[in-house]
Symmetry: C2
Subunit: 128 residues, 2 copies
DNA sequence: CAGAATCCTCTTGGATACTG
DNA sequence: CAGTATCCAAGAGGATTCTG
């Protein structure tokens, strides 16, 4: 046992923080949208590319591979010509949906306040 | 009027996605840890720097400024010599704590599975 | 259709030195 | 103490071209 008294302010290490571990998974630009696209079930590669506005094939493939490697996404290939490749969330991936939905909800409810704060901040620190 | 029938798969735009808006706020490397450091109340600049292992002053200041601009963090200065500068979460910032805690909790519970999936993936796609 | 490969740019973040 | 300023390296991500 290291200590009986709980320190007021324990140190925070990047490597052991649960936040950071999750951010390591979902913090890049397209990950959230890709997971979002699979929310209702499996979906083909091409349809994802069409639904997610502005994404390039490179980023779509790259992000899907990363999610597959992390065990959040499953890839199913029907070897026809042309091939059919479908992606869906694994149970682990689906377990991320709930916390992500709450974050998304927070964004929907509060982003206007963030934008207002930015305008206010910029006004305060520019012209005076 | 564009359409009366709701499409099965509506498009997903980066600009209007609640996820992405939140990620715009919390997705950089240190933000989560900095918010985490203020979870229990206000804290001085220097103490944050010491508690968050590995952070540079530059990134600490830069990230705090961004959070302040976004209205999530308050800065309170006591103009003594040397100055005392304390940071704390605004109500808006505190409202982010709950969804972030859930994400952190997910990370604590599931990150081992992600790591296992990575090992498995790398084994599968390297040596055969 | 579902990608792989290449090139290139822009941003993020680390190291270091200086200041009221 | 609490920053600012500058330089630099690494990585994320976009555009384009090619392929089974």
């Amino acid at each position: 046992m290291t200590s009986l008294v709980k320190p007021k302010h324990p140190n925070i290490a990047l490597a052991v923080c649960g936040y950071s571990k999750v951010l390591d998974i979902i913090s890049n630009k397209w990950t959230a949208l890709i997971i979002y696209a699979m929310e209702d079930g499996s979906i083909r590669y091409g349809e994802m590319a069409r639904r997610i506005e502005g994404i390039s094939k490179k980023m779509l493939t790259q992000t899907l591979r990363k999610l597959e490697r992390d065990g959040l996404v499953q890839r199913h290939i029907t070897p026809s010509v042309p091939p059919i490749v479908e992606y869906s969330l694994t149970p682990l991936g689906e377990s991320l949906l709930q916390p992500m939905r709450e974050l998304r909800q927070w964004g929907r409810e509060n982003y206007v306040r963030v934008e207002a704060a930015r305008v206010n901040f910029d006004l305060t620190y520019s012209d005076d």
